[in-house]
Symmetry: C2
Subunit: 460 residues, 2 copies
């Protein structure tokens, strides 16, 4: 890194921003991160991205690829050292070509998810990654986003058929990897190295994605399980009985719901006499048809599947509220705001096997109060896929960085070492969790070099 502003921050022909006011939105993250940069480069084409990468390598400038800048681990925000640039993909918007016959779309990395779905809708198609935010496609790939309907549709990785990538090398080679053909086993699948790796190895500029027939009908229930274990029994029952109709199985803790009812005025407490249960589930079924003559209405399907569940061993269902899908989803979606508003938040994005979600929660409720009595557990998550947004609210005022770091280390250690968890389920890797990558998942550098050596030697 060399902070020499006399040199041009961008290669010839590439637009760039240097005025502090223009750069400000690119230097701030959604979780309060703030960074510095010499400039924000805004290339419009893959070739211009390659020119930027070559320029940065030649000038010894760090660059941070940034697409929608909606990420939660700081990966798209530059650091505070001087001399680097932001490589924004927000003008990479040249292409969005729907191939309805093949059920694929070829899309530039700078389009937002909502824009992609708007292009797909007239064809009766959608990109089935369901998120609270509205990121750009490039960032979704760099993060391998999961979301609330992973249970039904998987993560971004499942849907990436082709990528155009600019390698993060001095030559900035442009690679076209894969394409619209679904069945292709013609060598190592290099695409995978650019999915979920935060742009470390290269910048994704374009993707060919699988897309799905649009959902036309949904129904949801708000369910009170009779116990922790009952949630898993219910999940297994519904997976078998409902098959792919089951599209969400979401968990909400009492504390997360309570803060939401308190702090988010639009959300009413739907429980009888306002008594919030220890835990609740949002369970959704959905279908690509709204009016097919052979379909039983989804509300009836869901109620009938629950009628069976009442009689299961252990009586897993204590109570269930049907027929108000929008209201139930509004509660689920408002949990983030409810928790954020309730006090200083320290949030974890953990992934477990499904049974371990429950075991981890139980242990935390036993051990956290003794060690951190000022922290309140306000968690929720995607029980169907083992994802848990383990949120802690500090009830006695703001957290100092050293306190937060110690708490983070302890919780991650408990989850990873005690319960085999992933420390990043769906938010990807960035400055906020890089030390856990180094601690828990990075390969030994010598092994990594030898592995890359055998790949480089045999794969050609």
């Amino acid at each position: 890194m060399t902070g020499t502003p006399a040199r041009p921050p961008a290669p010839p022909g590439v637009a760039c921003l240097t005025a502090p006011g223009d750069m400000a939105p690119y230097l701030a993250g959604v979780r309060g991160e703030k960074g510095q940069a010499l400039a924000v480069l805004r290339p419009q084409t893959t070739e211009a991205v390659a020119a930027c990468v070559r320029h940065c390598h030649a000038e010894g400038m760090n660059f941070v690829p940034q697409s929608g800048n909606t990420g939660l681990v700081g990966a798209s925000v530059p650091g505070t050292q001087e001399g680097g640039v932001v490589l924004s993909l927000d003008r990479l918007r040249g292409e969005c070509t729907v191939d309805a016959a093949n059920r694929t779309v070829s899309v530039s990395a700078g389009l937002r998810l909502s824009e992609l779905n708007a292009q797909l809708a007239p064809h009766g198609l959608f990109f089935p990654i369901d998120l609270g935010a509205d990121p750009m496609i490039g960032g979704m790939i760099a993060t391998n986003t999961g979301g609330g309907r992973y249970l039904r549709y998987g993560d971004v990785r499942r849907h990436v058929l082709g990528l155009t990538v600019v390698l993060n090398t001095a030559k900035a080679e442009v690679l076209t990897l894969g394409g619209a053909v679904r069945k292709a086993n013609t060598g190592p699948d290099w695409r995978q190295m650019f999915i979920g790796t935060s742009g470390w190895f290269g910048v994704v500029t374009r993707a060919v994605l699988n897309v799905e027939p649009m959902v036309q009908a949904q129904a949801a229930a708000l369910v009170v399980p009779s116990s922790h274990a009952a949630m898993l029994d219910l999940l297994r029952h519904l997976e078998i009985r409902l098959g792919p109709l089951l599209s969400a199985f979401e968990f909400m803790s009492c504390a997360a719901m309570r803060h939401t009812f308190t702090h988010v005025p639009a959300i009413a407490n739907p429980f009888a006499r306002g008594a919030i249960p220890q835990m609740a589930l949002l369970i959704e079924v959905s279908r690509t048809t709204a009016d097919a003559p052979w379909d039983t209405p989804l509300d009836e399907v869901l109620q009938a599947a629950f009628a069976e569940a009442w009689d299961l061993p252990g009586a897993p269902v204590e109570d269930a509220l049907f027929g108000r899908a929008e209201e139930i989803w509004a509660l689920r979606h408002a949990l983030s705001e409810g928790v954020r508003t309730a006090g200083p938040l320290i949030a974890f994005d953990l992934g477990f096997t499904r049974d371990k979600v429950i075991a981890f929660r139980e242990q935390m409720h036993r051990t956290l109060p003794a060690r951190y009595p000022m922290m309140e557990i306000c968690d929720f998550g995607h029980l169907g896929d083992g994802g848990l947004h383990f949120n802690l609210i500090k009830t006695d005022g703001p957290a100092q960085p050293s306190f937060e770091e110690g708490l983070r280390d302890w919780v991650v250690e408990q989850a990873v070492e005690g319960f085999g968890a992933s420390f990043s389920a769906e938010h990807g890797l960035g400055p906020k969790n890089l030390r856990y990558f180094e601690r828990y998942t990075a390969l030994d550098p010598q092994v990594l070099r030898r592995m890359c050596g055998v790949i480089a030697a045999n794969g050609c």
Copy 2:
């Protein structure tokens, strides 16, 4: 490679076969390949596999990993040079642990698909890759097998959650990559480098797989489309109307069916007055419930979806035969035998976008007869995912190797260069198609080295 039989072919403690009669089944492939080996090593554990790999590197012996030896591209059969060994996984059978709550299984690489499914059945689960053969799990991963229900369940890659791998290096490091946790974005996904790469980079000894609720009900139709284009219209209609109920959309050519009716006595011609149409489709719907009160019987669903299709613009359906699912599948499954029995076969496993399957077939029917008048096109395939088993029968006697090579090169060139096809859809990479890898998909060695360099440098 050094052919020095005086050295021990296996490391201490690892069983090996050296008698020609014992080795014979390991040296012959299912498509008539025949190779040579000093020995067949049969390790029982991951550690013993690592000892074998270290031994081979130390002694300068080539090794070919082999699991079920059911592959169609020769990848599991040793070559004809002297001095190498087969590294068989057929005794790697120590583990098959079903986690029903998590819907995963941890399984040794030497179990066969049928054995895995037998272990899963009591839990109401199955591994949803549907194949004619019965391979071992290790080979399925090394091939990234697809199969007949890709449309519904995807390929092996989608279902691999964790891998234990022995690197193909002198040190034979054992890596445990991923595991039973579904949502884990904690660094580069190294698993992917060992899926579909024929064991080049390492030997898979154990996997954690996603498994699915078992299918309990199916219905199928044998459909005569009114034209080539009509098949795509029908596919789009059914994908939207049936959603994930649609589990197979298979194409059968007139010639493939004709040879099957002629050469496979058990298969009766189901068409009215025996008139075989130019093309037919096998269309299947399936479900995880057999008796749910909310389910319309699948035969009725399928007929009702077709009742709508009769009225679509262009009238895509000419005829449809319902309610004889087993008979229709028996025909589909017998096509391989029918074609193989009809004469000397030159087979291609091609992948296209769905519309290009049709365009390629049309062009081949126009151009192949002029160039190769003795070759009859007898194709069939998975139209739903663009896979085409493009089979050619030589009607004037056996093919000489040089003739076959010229024909292969020409067909692959037409498909890849003219129609953007993959030259290997689901059979993987091996000696039979390695030259097309080198010609069409291998990265430039310098680019590959630089890419592996940036991966080795940043990924730690």
